[in-house]
Amino acid sequence: MSLACEFRLARGDFALDARMTLPERGVTALFGRSGSGKTTLLRCLAGLERAEGWLTVNGCRWQDDERFLPVHRRPLGYVFQEASLFPHLRVRDNLRYGYRRVPVARRRVDFDETVRLLGVEALLERYPQALSGGQRQRVAIARALLASPRLLLMDEPMASLDATSKAEILPYLERLHDHLEIPVVYVSHALDEVARLADHMVLLEAGRVLATGPLHELLTRSDLPLAHADNAAAVLEAQVLDYDAGRQLVTLGCGDVRLRVSREQAPSSQRLRLSIRASDVAISLSQARDSSVLNCLPVRIAEIDDDPHPGHRLVRLALGDQALLARIPREAVERLALVPGMAVHAQVRARALT
């Protein structure tokens, strides 16, 4: 247990009453509707709000009834929901602001690399007023990272970034969080982004923690709103068995089942995380051999649920001890006479995440 907290705070009608425990490292996604208290909770973690309650990070008590570690003593990085750059400093000095304040021995992030990877090299001499919205946001991310945080709090850091920029920054963040080995709390509305980055998830609703747990569990729990979201997805953890460099294909083992996934490079670790969207899973009764779909996995229907999408049902499939979600037209459920317990084949388009 590395980050544990309990906070109570009232703001007008709104009341935050949150208690949670986060893993020692890895990314925790903070998910919830607009106004559910995500920003407020992050601010409590940072010490920007003096909430009642307590907070322990890496065994250190940062806050309780007697103590309150002031914000600047907390070794954290905070990306605000609005970029909030210092208007009186050039981009370079904005970036160096936190960097300079960390003793050289404790710096764990390289200035030039960060600047390059966030694509802000060309902007270093500008003032924030001369940046576009996305550029400001990238500078704010870089600034937080350069403070070599031991707890990273990010409030929708990529909201105004285009897909290409996101695609460039995400792998860097992934590597960084592997490298820094710190807990990251990440607010985002993009389930794709979350599925890719997060290991753990906290669901907020009206200031309360609705659920908390490993990402792959929460994503497929049909009692939670996530499974019913537009881009509901399951996350699988799989064993790397083989890499075919020519075809850029990894073969993975997931229990007894084998899966193939495209990947540019050989995986560096023995395990790989896969994201499989409910809408990327089709069910067929037989094993299709002449289809372009790579994986046709033997699965068992665990549960057939309602889906908010018109004309669809949400089918939970058991793949070994893990779960998959499939969003299937009602028509197909009838046509193929699908019922829980039935053995079927799942045509799966999987995406490697880590």
Binding site: H72, H88, Y127, R143
Partner: protein, 232 residues
């Protein structure tokens, strides 16, 4: 030792004036910073009373303020008398007394622009700085002061210029001692009263031109390093 048609005594007065303006402006800025900060951020009721008190020195004619100060700082006053009993000497007719007088009278010019600047800045830049490891002093220097530069400048300029021209208070508690408490404004007044208009004009002109050049330089410097606009 006449130069530019300005006599030695007047040069001494000028020097004293600038010294007084510098010292009292510097002291005021330092002292008013926490006060203005508190006023900008407190939600307490007493705030409005303090705000009103700060503006009060302006309400009375300077000579009258000076008169009350003279009594206060003199050997029979609360402050001066205490000092005397402690073996020190009272503050009437001293440079220290002048500094105190001009500080009291310039107080509102310093507190109010600072307070406005602090309020306009909001808390966000400070929050950001704190998350980037900057402690309170560090934040003051690296964020608060630069971001309230316009307010600081206004405070400094108003206080400095006002002390240059201050007359009533300084006359009252200073006693016009050449080289010690006779500042330029008193000297100019003296010339006018003594119908030595030429000297008065020369001294006024010098004061105005010097102040003008200083101000233009300050404002030009300020513009040079100005941030073009506030981040949206």
């Amino acid at each position: 030792m006449t130069w530019l048609g300005i006599g030695e005594a007047d040069w001494i007065a000028l020097q004293l004036t600038f010294r007084l303006a510098l010292i009292s402006t510097a002291l005021l800025l330092v002292l008013c910073l926490p006060l203005a900060w508190w006023l900008a951020h407190t939600q307490r009721r007493i705030k409005v009373v303090i705000e009103a008190l700060v503006a009060l020195p302006l309400v009375l004619p300077p000579t009258v303020i000076g008169f009350y100060l003279l009594i206060l700082l003199g050997p029979r006053g609360a402050v001066g008398g205490t000092l005397e009993r402690l073996g020190a000497s009272h503050l009437a007719f001293t440079f220290t007394g002048l500094v105190i007088g001009s500080m009291i009278y310039s107080l509102p010019f310093v507190v109010q622009p600072l307070q406005n600047a602090f309020q306009a800045m909001g808390r966000r830049p400070l929050e950001v700085a704190a998350t980037l490891r900057a402690g309170p002093w560090d934040r003051l220097v690296s964020v608060v002061l630069p971001l309230s530069r316009q307010g600081l400048l206004t405070a400094a300029v108003l206080s400095f210029a006002h002390t240059l021209g201050e007359f009533g208070v300084l006359l009252m508690i200073g006693g016009g001692i050449p080289g010690q408490t006779q500042v330029a404004s008193i000297a100019i007044y003296s010339h006018v009263e003594g119908m030595d208009y030429a000297s008065a004009h020369r001294l006024s002109l010098f004061l105005i031109v010097t102040a003008f050049v200083m101000l233009v330089c300050i404002y030009a410097l300020n513009k040079r390093f100005k941030i073009v606009g506030v981040a949206p």
